[in-house]
């Protein structure tokens, strides 16, 4: 989904109108006369996937300090409105400025956005519930994408894309299931294809191809390549062959990703506080009450004075009942490693004693539909007293460290029970760099 507002000639406007995306351009018709150019793009190739991380790109020209607000209503009939807000400020400089992030999109009722400068709306737009789609994308990079349509089942969400549409970060590939490249368009960067595969995408690249495809062909020179949570395979000849390959099932970790994450999340110990033991509290309070009572009842004026002293001492000692931190956090991560690269899926939980806003580093996806704000690279959530919230971090690409490379096959001590069933024969589950690394055996070297 793309929205643009730019100063262009009437002819250019006409050409754009005749072309495919004119409807979206007209959605911001009032901004056409504005000198600034803005463009907002959500999702891979303009297709946003509900319930997944999606790339968000905003390009602003000559609008220093403009603010970008994207509001997601993650509510429903029962919950009512649940606003989730992304806010960013464009760098205070002229020329072309970009904001490029990955956002978790809940199953939305409505998504609306607005780009403003000094109270003037440069661009705005919205997506309704009808445009919500939680099916993963099957991307086809081909000059004849329709020829590959039959390779996917009828319910698949097949999108024609170009090399420029492909996300650079692992989180951007969260909503993509398949990447098919048949070699008829300009070749995408090898790094993007490897990132896609590491993120759990099943990538098909031509084993032979025109100039520019040498790097991609090298990936599958020795047959299918397991990398991170996904794989890179040679593009078969024709849609029928591709269909049978797809029907044969995914390679890599793709199939177990959601179950593994759910299982690992359950193993996370919830964050807590170092409360004063209840026995100490009982001893202190009962002792205090008995002491002041007895002093007042039996010892006369001296007792009353002593009771005042005991009361003062108790008041002075009371702050020692405070826990070290009113806000507790716990984080953990699971990395699916293969081919020298790993896909890191992290999750965290925050618990807060006082009512108020908890701020967490990074843009995080709440595990349930709740009100959050993403701003300045942080996630803010309002918690009631004693409230807690769980989040998932954006998927990240990592190199496999030496500790994992050198780990013998098997399971490390203290590994979460829920993950043991996922370790394949000859595979390993080890702890390194504050994460559990799940690998199918030889983790290989980075392609």
């Amino acid at each position: 989904m793309t929205i643009s507002a730019r100063t262009v000639s009437a002819q250019a406007v006409f050409v754009r109108t005749v072309a495919a995306c004119a409807v979206v351009v007209l959605a911001s018709g009032s901004t056409l006369a504005q000198p600034a150019r803005t463009e907002l793009r959500l999702g891979v190739a303009g297709a946003a996937v509900a319930g997944a991380w999606n790339p968000l790109q905003v390009v602003v020209r000559d609008a220093p300090g403009a603010t970008v607000e994207l509001r997601i209503d993650a509510g429903g009939l029962e919950r009512g409105e649940v606003p989730q807000l992304f806010r960013a400020i464009v760098a205070p400089a002229g020329g072309v400025q970009r904001i490029d992030v990955d956002l978790p999109l809940a199953s939305w009722r409505r998504i609306s956005w607005r780009i403003e400068q000094d109270g003037r709306v440069l661009a705005s737009g919205a997506l309704g519930a009808r445009e919500r789609d939680d099916r993963p994308l099957d991307l086809v990079l081909s000059d004849r994408p329709s020829e590959w349509r039959d390779a996917f089942d009828d319910s698949a969400r097949v999108i024609a894309a170009t090399a420029a549409d492909l996300p650079a970060r692992a989180a951007g590939w969260d909503g993509v299931r398949t990447l098919l490249i048949d070699g008829t368009l300009a070749a995408p960067e090898v790094a993007k294809v490897v990132t896609a595969a590491t993120a759990g995408v099943r990538a098909f690249v031509p084993a032979t191809g025109p100039a520019g495809y040498a790097g991609l062909a090298l990936l599958v020179a020795d047959g299918p390549l397991l990398v991170g949570a996904g794989s890179v395979e040679a593009t078969p000849e024709g849609a029928a062959a591709l269909a049978s390959r797809i029907a044969a099932g995914p390679s890599g970790w793709t199939e177990v990703l959601p179950a593994a994450l759910d299982a690992a999340t359950l193993e996370l110990q919830p964050p807590g506080w170092n409360h004063l033991p209840v026995a100490w509290v009982a001893l202190a309070t009962v002792g205090y009450a008995a002491a002041v009572w007895l002093l007042l009842r039996s010892a006369g004026a001296a007792g009353a004075a002593s009771a005042v002293l005991v009361m003062a001492a108790a008041a002075i000692a009371a702050p020692y009942a405070a826990p070290d931190e009113p806000q507790a956090e716990r984080r953990d991560a699971l990395v699916f490693a293969a081919g020298g690269l790993g896909l890191k899926l992290s999750w965290s939980e925050v618990a807060r004693l006082p009512h108020g806003e908890a701020r967490l580093d990074g843009l995080l996806a709440p595990s349930d539909a709740r009100e959050v704000t993403w701003s300045d690279g942080r996630t803010s959530v309002l918690l009631e007293a004693g409230g807690r919230a769980a989040f998932a971090g954006a998927p990240q690409l990592l190199s496999v460290p030496a500790a994992v490379h050198e780990a013998p096959p098997g399971v490390a001590a203290g590994a979460p029970q829920a993950l043991l069933a996922l370790v394949p024969a000859g595979g390993s589950l080890v702890r390194a760099n504050d994460a559990w690394w799940l690998s199918p055996g030889q983790v290989g070297t980075t392609p």
């Binding site: 807590g272 209840v278 509290v281 205090y288 009942a321 405070a322 004693l353 004693g386």
Partner: protein, 198 residues
């Protein structure tokens, strides 16, 4: 009455009951697992403020024909109960780390006690003068319920004891200060008159 007896006398079973209630509430709500949030203060503050108000109301309404000096001594009981229970509320407050005003929650029950004492005393004296003293056990709770309903209608919390610790406000502070000031002034004046007459 000796000086010692005067000191010990007012701090009677009412204060003991309040202390017991506050301590029991604290222990019942203090978490025994680190993953449980400590919400003890919210319960303790409610019980303490409500207990002090009930105690002050009961003391104010009992024996409306007592000598002014005795009445003033009776007032010591709810005030002493408020002071004695304050450290326990402090303990609960620091353990729960609430986003609330400590000064307000600890101090507000004092003027609340004085105001409740004054209102119940005024009601008891009025009913006694019109020879309806027998209806006090019925009218006092009815007036209390009416005042709570009035506060709910008004909007901001002014005197509802189980909400007051969590809702600091200038109107509540002003109102409680005024009513407790009037109570103190009337008590002092009647005591002075009584001494002069004696």
């Amino acid at each position: 009455m000796t000086r010692d007896a005067r000191l010990a006398g007012p701090v009677g079973s009412g204060s003991a009951l309040l202390l017991f209630a506050v301590v029991a509430t604290l222990l019942a709500n203090w978490p025994d697992r680190s993953t449980d949030a400590n919400l003890a203060w919210y319960a303790v503050a409610r019980v303490r403020a409500t207990g002090i108000l009930l105690l002050a109301g009961w003391v104010g309404a009992s024996d409306p024909g007592a000598a002014p000096r005795q009445r003033a001594m009776a007032l010591i009981e709810p005030l002493a109960a408020a002071l004695l229970s304050a450290p326990i509320e402090l303990l609960a407050y620091f353990g729960s780390v609430p986003a609330a005003s400590l000064a307000w929650s600890v101090a507000a029950p004092l003027p609340l006690a004085l105001a409740a004492f004054g209102v119940s005393w005024a009601l008891a004296v009025t009913l006694r003068r019109v020879r309806l003293g027998w209806s006090l056990p019925l009218l006092l709770p009815a007036v209390a319920v009416g005042l709570v309903m009035l506060d709910v209608r008004i909007g901001p919390v002014l005197w509802i004891p189980w909400l007051l610790p969590f809702a600091p406000s200038w109107p509540a502070a002003a109102l409680l200060t005024c009513v407790s000031g009037v109570t103190a002034a009337v008590l002092a004046r009647s005591a002075t008159r009584h001494e002069e007459a004696a």
